[in-house]
Symmetry: D2
């Protein structure tokens, strides 16, 4: 067993990042940031004052004009440099993520690679997707050009489960598009954003105000979006909060790209490779302690193999080793917060009350050396009815529901009729025909075939649907559409 060192034991009080400088807040409204594996406070941070928020917006607006005058070839250079800085500080960022959010080190490495892929994708987007179009001789003596302009300043809201990944899902693209941002992170893991901003601040060439960081969460989000300089919002978080921002944007005539909750199904066909399915589902159900939007929730087992699968899955689940992510033998970390842990416990309670059978109970795990951590162990229900609350709402924890279904048609019907969300659905099968049918008929945004977490690459949008996503520009490379506006030029020179 190797135990990695923490980056720092305590970060003290976090500063805001406004107009290219680290600024001590004048706020009296101070919060704690807690390491969820140890329960220790690792930083305190302020909820930014209204004046500070205004300064951030003004500096962003000013950066909009400066950044516009930077030639494309230089913008590209700085964004590629940002990618280099992330490689340089890769290990530090991973360890901060483990410490502040509760991931395992392996999960953190995966996350940071995904973050870098987003920066790489944004570099590519800057070069290849900000180009305009040109038509020679559209009409007699008339040429026409379409080119792209940044829409303006944007609010970017990051959630507690993927603080760094969410940053990377919008911010590099905003910069590539020419749009300065105000980043407003969740109050559960602010150190993650601080670390990212420190890395980004090392890049020479970004004008002050291009990226701003203000803590405060929901308190300040609405205030920011209301400001006339702010042209829209990119949000990853709960459907509940997201829909409110979408409504606010609608009222203000602004743009919004919203990513919310999900409730994801995995179908096991009788011809599936069960070993592969079990191993995929451990990652799908318990990865990031179940706090991921594309994770697996309801496992629909078709046919006779139910008992065989159940035995294997319960056994493997029960054996997962919980602990602090910096310990390299840890397979499952804590929930991000005590509130998060309480929510799961309530969720499990609700399932029991609804009549589902709890066949693996993770509510009171014993985790050596992490007695004060916010842990919940792998938890499995069976005999879950499709209409139960636990079958329809996201647990946001390491909870799996086993459900028997008669055949593929029934599974597809269940998903299409009972899943109001639309993040993902997966199937394990050897049959090309079953896979195609599932793909075409299931009405969610991300389909997995023989994988349990169908995560799209950075240059694909997270194609989520229905209650899981609003706004016609999605995250990742698709957000270029959120940030870029179009201008046409009709020229006649005779």
């Amino acid at each position: 067993m190797t135990v990695l060192k923490e980056v720092e034991k305590n970060y003290g009080q976090l500063k805001l990042y406004i107009n290219g400088e680290w600024v001590e807040s004048e706020s009296a409204d101070i919060y704690d940031s807690v390491n969820p594996a140890t329960g220790e406070t690792i930083a305190t941070f302020p909820s930014a004052t209204e004046a500070e928020v205004q300064q951030a917006i003004e500096s962003a607006q000013s950066a909009l004009q400066t950044w516009k005058t930077v030639p494309l070839r230089d913008k590209a250079r700085y964004l590629f440099d940002l990618r280099g800085k992330f490689e340089e500080h890769f290990d530090m960022l991973c360890r901060v993520l483990v410490q502040d959010h509760g991931r395992t080190m392996g999960e953190a490495v995966g996350t940071l690679r995904r973050c870098i892929e987003n920066i790489e994708s944004a570099c590519s987007a800057l070069l290849l997707l900000t180009k305009g179009d040109y038509i020679n001789e559209l009409a007699r003596t008339i040429d026409q050009t379409l080119y792209m302009e940044p829409r303006g300043v944007f609010l970017i809201v990051t959630p507690n489960n993927i603080p760094m990944h969410a940053w990377s899902s919008y911010v590099p693209y905003a910069i590539a598009s020419g749009c300065p941002v105000i980043v407003s992170p969740s109050k559960d893991d602010p150190v993650c954003l601080k670390a990212i901003f420190e890395v980004a601040a090392e890049v020479k060439g970004f004008p002050p105000g291009l990226m701003n960081l203000v803590y405060g969460g929901r308190n300040i989000n609405n205030m920011i979006l209301e400001h006339p300089h702010v042209k829209g919002v990119g949000f990853i978080g709960s459907t509940h909060v997201g829909l409110k921002l979408f409504e606010q944007a609608g009222r203000l005539g602004k743009e919004a790209s919203i990513n919310g909750n999900g409730k994801n199904h995995v179908v096991l066909m009788p011809d599936a490779d069960f070993d592969s399915a079990v191993s995929g589902l451990l990652r799908g159900c318990y990865g990031m302690a179940g706090q991921r939007c594309l994770g697996a929730d309801n496992i629909l087992v078709i046919g006779d193999g139910y008992d065989r699968f159940k035995d294997a899955f319960v056994k493997a689940s029960a054996e997962m080793k919980m602990g602090y992510g910096l310990d390299d033998t840890t397979e499952l970390g804590p929930l991000v917060s005590e509130r998060g842990r309480q929510n799961i416990l309530d969720f499990i309670e609700k399932g029991i009350n609804e009549g589902a059978d709890l066949i693996l109970d993770g509510r009171d795990p014993r985790v050596d050396r992490c007695e004060k951590g916010f842990f919940v162990g792998p938890t499995i229900f069976e005999n879950v009815d499709a209409d139960m609350y636990i079958a329809r709402e996201e647990s946001f924890g390491p909870v799996a529901n086993l459900m028997k279904v008669a055949d593929l048609d029934e599974a597809i019907d269940l998903i299409n009729n009972k899943d109001d969300y639309g993040h993902s659905a997966c199937i394990f099968t050897k049959s090309g025909t079953s896979a195609r049918k599932f793909t075409k008929q299931v009405d969610v945004g991300n389909i997995g075939i023989n994988v349990a977490v169908p995560q799209p690459y950075a240059f694909f949008p997270l194609g989520s649907k229905n209650a899981s996503a609003q706004g016609c520009a999605k995250s990742r490379i698709d957000s270029m559409r959120l940030f870029l506006d179009q201008k046409t030029i009709t020229e006649r020179w005779v």
Copy 2:
């Protein structure tokens, strides 16, 4: 002088088009459609009942499923056939547009060509823009695919000034994307939509319910957008109404593409070719009787040439021949409605009261053989201050404001600070440097250089900005983004 025949003298009571059939409405709420050049009623039409609207939505939802199963190669065939039908009925459509809206025949021909270009553009979009992406070996043994699915049923709202063009700016693209539509036209020229639907109905292969037509205007728009089957709205009309729909869509978590009013500026540099500018401005200020979103409103003249330009422009304006569009000598048609005419008269009154000088008064024109038509002649103000109401709000009639400005910088400042809208701005100059400066610095969506109406081609969006447009997917080919949703597939076959 040639006078073309009207298509029909009177179309009787118009029917709704629901589920592939012409349906007589049960509504008691009946309106007149009037030929604005003659004042004669040419049709009556009902405001659809709630039940009829529901039927339209249900039939559209059913067409969504049917149309999905039609192979791409067949969809393409039918859409190309639709283009052929428009060519076949080209002349009829032009004459209906003249008769119902009040355009001149020349304007109608131009409009119909633009409509066909939209269908051509939608054909191309269907073939080339609905394709998904495929990544081979994204990760070890994993391939990934992104493909497009129709979002669902859409409401399309068409305005009174460009009834056919607005239809073509959304509907062919909706069909290409797989989305059925409910078209809700303005109550001022419903015969235009009836004519288009008759032409479209001739195409073999479109499933019933793919395109529905219900009259009723604002009465029914909100009702349609509220329905759970309806996933969004494409709207062309007033900013006032558009913003309300955008807010409604925000509240409902739905998509909206909104195009509203504008107030467009044309700058004349001292080095401009004044003959060319005058001739362009006659079209820009008075084309479609001033009822076009990209038309010219405020003419900013720089330098000594002001008087020379003014004399030439007033003279040419005064000579424009008004009349019925089917008379081939007509250069300027009526306003689309008596209400429209009243609004212009009020607008002119307001300008006089604000202290602008009315140097050409079109309020009481004499139009032979069209005594009951809704005519207003070319109207020109000078000494217009940039803060006056008439300088900042759209007249929606044949009204031009002459304004002197000192230099290009002042002109750009004026446009950027006084135009809350963002449709278009034009410059007449011989200098490449002035043209580039204007293009880059003016904050509107459509720039014209030595043209007075910078209309983008069908496969460019109408790149309007600020108060003129909401929603990150715009009209024309850009609306593919409104109608198409994305789905990712992550596959692992080992």
Copy 3:
């Protein structure tokens, strides 16, 4: 049984189409065009004289300049009109194809739909792929534009097996790109091209010289390609002739897109649906009397099912009804020429001599009412060794080879090592894993899964490889790259 009427019994002597006019050749070198089902001469045609070829080239060069000045929106209109003309004359074109080439009516209908799809695809390419790119502020004060220009006049060579389809694989794209063409068809079915040119001539708007038709085949191809005005060649035909043209183009510094022969394999996995495979293979092996580049040649059967498949396939093959394509019960037409028939007979003889077992012999078929036609019936070999001539060279007739292989790896090895060509390879299986493995590992250009003729859609290139294709721009939409050249503009206006 319905027998359709021939378009005409005899077309007399065909004219050349030069500079927008039908021109009687002064050549004394006259050939016959024969209906291969009846053996009757249906037309005579000249091999164009050198002077006539020069005129065609000059008129094309002149059209290059004219066509350049036609605005994009008009070019689009004419190309869409061309598509309409093909729909209008659809039935005539099908019947000419049956009469001149020997297809069945069903095959002709399929072919003509594919031709129209190529025109549709070219329409789309004109609108969406001829656009240039624009970069705003690439460097300080510098903008950059890339736009497309036609390369110049091109030679298009069409083969005897797909005279119309080959035309559609290059010519509409050449026109969309702005490049005039000289079409040089095979001497076996010249009436097909005459019919197409008559249809195209009905389009108003194409300048004279945009499309020229000269008969003469190889006699004149080299002469045309040698001319300085001619910038390259698009060729579909034999690998032997294609490679010579490619070499000539290389020597001249010109562009070439060459499509040649193939030898295609179909793998039947033990889990395949044999009924579906047999039905697919009838079309794959005998469609167009085996004269298609993506048709099936070698059938590799894996596992125990060999005898079951063989029995079913031989039985179904033997029952195919031969006859004149205009008879609607005909399932299999003649070879395109007596020479073609002789080649197959020689091919079969060679197979027998090599030691393969002829288990269905189609060499002397009895075809009622077509006693003089060039028929060969379905012919099947078994015990074919992978190194035999008949296993490695294209028969260009209705000949199938049955071969047993041990497993999928052996099948893939055989294809990759014995197929010097690279048109296509197919697999019939229910397994997603087998399908993916086959797709990724087989080194040919077009893979089929559970289909026997993996024909790409018009807006995909015919992705053939190795000896089957030369030139980095392929046919169909990919040929836009052949025809279009690029120009950059670097602008600085200060």
Copy 4:
């Protein structure tokens, strides 16, 4: 004056880079590499033996298979890392380029930035341009996919004038496409390539054999291209040699992308800003000592300003400071080789003999501290006739021809009729109309407006035409088309 240190005084005998290792050649055929500013030998290098060339090809072929199995996300990571390595060694690479080629330090910095931009562009191309296309339900139950495969091993030939830039114009794109390369550099500056390969070798993840470096020039190029594993060639160099490779590729059925000589014109309109033109032309005519394909050759002056321009240009030319590029006051470096210098001297002699007037003679410059360098000073002819040898062939040295022309039409005619090449043409003017006319009518590939070296950005092709370029895939991002082949998959799962 600052004089930068040389990287090393002498590099000894250079090694080959084969299969990921630096290999001492067994060749007895050894050449010198000379610092052209000092005349000192800085390295010796072998002409690789046939066996060594074979090893390079074999190792490349083996890398083809390995690199194919590396997931796209990892390929991207390594290519972005390569970009980082170039930034890290930026200064070293600049100084090697100065030392081995003779550039000034300022030119070297510019070149290296362009090289990095090519890597950035290739990174983007890997992510966004290697994706395939997917069509859902093309025909009933049939989906179709197009994806990209590397064509195989390529020969890349780099010239003596832009050794590093040429590497970057093909190699990063080859790697992004999956194609291993054999790089064969000019014998004039081999240390440049050695330095690049050392930098690239630091990237972890590239398989051995992906990039190979063999010295020998023309001796080995044909041998490499002839090898069956080698699928084509990317070449930058002389038209003479390029056309031979193009012919060879044609004979072999392989792909070639060829960039050759040019003869570029700059037009000065009477309304041009002469100061800006003179300053641009100093760079255009003498930058890289005139050894650049887009540099300026013939200056066409229109109108009365000729004498004024001439005086200013001659004076500024005469004042340019020659010297060793590592001296930071140097404005003009030496020719790359003694042979290069002799060629210019012959060229100038020819001009004098043809009757042109030599008004600035750079043949015998005095360059302090560089007495043995290969220097030629700025040289200007006037009264040059458009048909003279010096007006039609590239000097490849710091030679400018002044020519008077009557008007823009004459200038355009001259360029279109006398320039057999097609690299570039520039105009200096204030008029948008003159600029557009020039852009549209001049038949070369790269147009400059108010710039003298219209160099396209990395993600634009060098759009050269006519004798300057062969092959339908050009360099830079366009070379993705050279390296990538296409494969279609037609799937039916029912």
